[in-house]
């Protein structure tokens, strides 16, 4: 076995040194009824090329995004990632290091996290950020719990246009964690009325921008309404590229910004691993869940970085910890940080504009297909349109023509009356040919 250094002679010599007759003696504490002798029913070991062949066969059964027209978003976005990003994250010292518990020999990871935190804070318009969470949906659920803890209130109001997976993840954690969650009906292309739901028991209002239907919304009035009731505004961002062009949630008055960082530096990966972003203003700093990196000095007075505020974590506080989260998404944060350092603010703005223009072009092209109606009044890189007929069938028919055209809203909202809606996204990678193929196929399917 190529990953195991010992020979049988070595094993024998080591067993002798330990003073036992055989390997089985080391497992003597396992009760008889639970003992096992090997894993014989599983296949035997395989060399590299056999494994490659097996995996390549599985991979070949999937339609990769790059192989044809691709227009899917809804919380995961495909952008071009520079080659240097993937090269750098595969450096042994980044890839195969653990959580930086020994800061003297982990300054690389720690400085990256400090730079990442600074980037996230600046991007979201907030004062501080943590070193990342599992993904956007879990960051959102943790934000709701944090708000309840800070405000000592149980009620959370969720906008119906929040990504349904985020809503369900928050509902699940909230149900067990004792939150009372109220939510509105989704309103594709619109802006659900929320101010009326906020009262003196409300800890936070959760609003995504742009929302799951692609609609953009001014958060400032919502921040005002939340603050008037003593509640927090939690802004969710699932497409951070939008922050190159849109006013930041911080600038619109959000108290917490959480969301998904995947679209910068990270691939689609069928949904994971992704990168949860979490930023707050300073007054909430000590309530932030997750890992946090801070600046300090070493014994010689040189600047260095450490994990800090860790007494809130489960290792010390056990059942009183702020959350049970142990890891962040370190390598994905590294990829995000490298990509963003290559882009810079100006590059991000340009990339955002390219995405927005590509989306305007797509809306224009699809809007000319008879029967299609775009619902959004404002959008960044994603919008929802109505078709005469069943959207799920249309999406399948498009896939049959090798066009991945978006997500039928019924996949999220079965039986809720959105069966004729498609949520579609565009990017800098779409060409005129892609758009023409999409519109042409759609026209054929609908006629």
């Amino acid at each position: 076995m190529r990953y195991l250094p010992h020979t049988d002679e070595t094993r024998k010599a080591m067993l002798d040194k330990i003073g036992v007759a055989g390997m089985a003696a080391l497992f003597a504490d396992i009760p008889q009824e639970a003992q096992r002798s090997g894993l014989e029913t599983l296949p035997g070991y395989q060399g590299e090329w056999d494994v490659e062949a097996h995996m390549a066969a599985l991979a070949a059964k999937n339609r990769a995004a790059a192989s044809g027209p691709f227009f899917i978003g809804c919380g995961a976005y495909r952008h071009h990632v520079p080659a240097s990003v993937d090269h750098l994250i595969q450096r042994s010292e980044f890839l195969t290091a653990y959580t930086p518990y020994q800061p003297e020999i982990s300054q690389g990871t720690l400085q990256v996290l400090f730079e990442f935190q600074t980037q996230v804070a600046r991007l979201t318009g907030m004062e501080v950020a943590n070193a990342s969470m599992y993904d956007g949906s879990t960051a959102c659920a943790e934000a709701a719990l944090m708000a309840s803890r800070v405000k000592r209130r149980r009620k959370i109001v969720i906008c119906g246009n929040l990504h349904p997976h985020y809503r369900e993840s928050t509902l699940t954690l909230g149900r067990f964690g004792g939150l009372r969650i109220e939510t509105t009906r989704p309103q594709p292309g619109g802006a659900p009325e929320l101010a009326g739901l906020i009262d003196k028991d409300t800890a936070a209002l959760v609003v995504q921008n742009p929302d799951v239907f692609g609609q953009v919304r001014d958060l400032a009035p919502l921040a005002e309404a939340a603050h008037a009731a003593g509640a927090l505004l939690i802004a969710v961002v699932t497409e951070p590229v939008s922050l190159g062009l849109l006013r930041s949630p911080g600038a619109m008055g959000a108290d917490v910004v959480c969301g998904e960082g995947q679209s910068i530096g990270n691939g689609l990966n069928f949904g994971g691993p992704y990168l949860g972003l979490f930023a707050v203003n300073k007054k909430l700093l000590r309530q932030m869940p997750g890992r946090i990196c801070g600046q300090t000095v070493d014994a010689d007075g040189r600047r260095g970085f450490v994990l800090t505020l860790s007494t809130r974590e489960q290792h010390i506080r056990r059942e009183k910890a702020t959350s049970n989260i142990c890891t962040n998404s370190g390598l994905c944060a590294l990829a995000f940080s490298i990509h963003l350092s290559l882009l810079g603010g100006e590059g991000l703005r340009k990339l955002a504009r390219l995405n927005h223009e590509s989306t305007i072009a797509l809306a224009g092209t699809l809007g000319q297909v008879p029967g299609v109606k775009v619902l959004n009044s404002g959008y960044f890189n994603e919008f929802t349109y109505k078709v005469p007929g069943d959207a799920a069938e249309v999406i399948e028919a498009l896939a049959g023509r090798d066009i991945l055209g978006g997500v039928p809203a019924s996949r999220f909202y079965p039986g809720e009356g959105f069966d004729d809606l498609i949520i579609t996204a565009a990017s800098e990678l779409n060409t005129d040919e892609h758009r023409a193929a999409y519109a042409g196929a759609l026209k054929e399917i609908l006629s």
Binding site: R286, T311, R312, I316, K320
Partner: protein
């Protein structure tokens, strides 16, 4: 005239009339090590005996400070929020946590006096 009482959770209560000043003892700060943060209650908050009133964090530990008696908070030592190190340097002086009005003087009877507390920590 002032009188100081102690709890088994290493809080002290300096009593002056119906007002008490609450903090953690020198022994407690020594056990915690470098204090890095103190979260104090809001003025006006009232607690039953045993309620969680404050949180104190050091580099190696975080612990709750429980209300040693039923009380209402009339003043908190907000200097601690910016300079938590005072808890280490002068816990039973400048490093006090909060001043409270005592709700039930009878509860004071259950607490230790200085000699009893000294005997208590000697056995730890």
């Amino acid at each position: 005239m002032s009188d100081t009482k102690y709890t088994e959770d290493h809080e002290y209560i300096q009593i002056e009339g119906d007002i008490a000043t609450i903090g953690i003892t020198d022994y407690a700060q020594g056990q915690l090590g470098d204090v890095v943060f103190v979260e104090l209650p809001e003025t006006g908050a009232s607690f039953a005996k045993g309620d969680e009133a404050a949180v104190i964090e050091s580099v190696k530990a975080a612990s709750e400070v429980y209300a040693p008696i039923s009380c209402a908070v009339i003043e908190v030592n907000s200097i601690l929020e910016g300079e938590p190190a005072i808890v280490n340097s002068d816990p039973e002086g400048e490093g006090w946590f909060m001043k409270v009005s005592i709700s039930d003087e009878a509860e004071l009877e259950e607490l230790m006096d200085e000699d009893a507390y000294k005997a208590f920590i000697a056995e730890l």
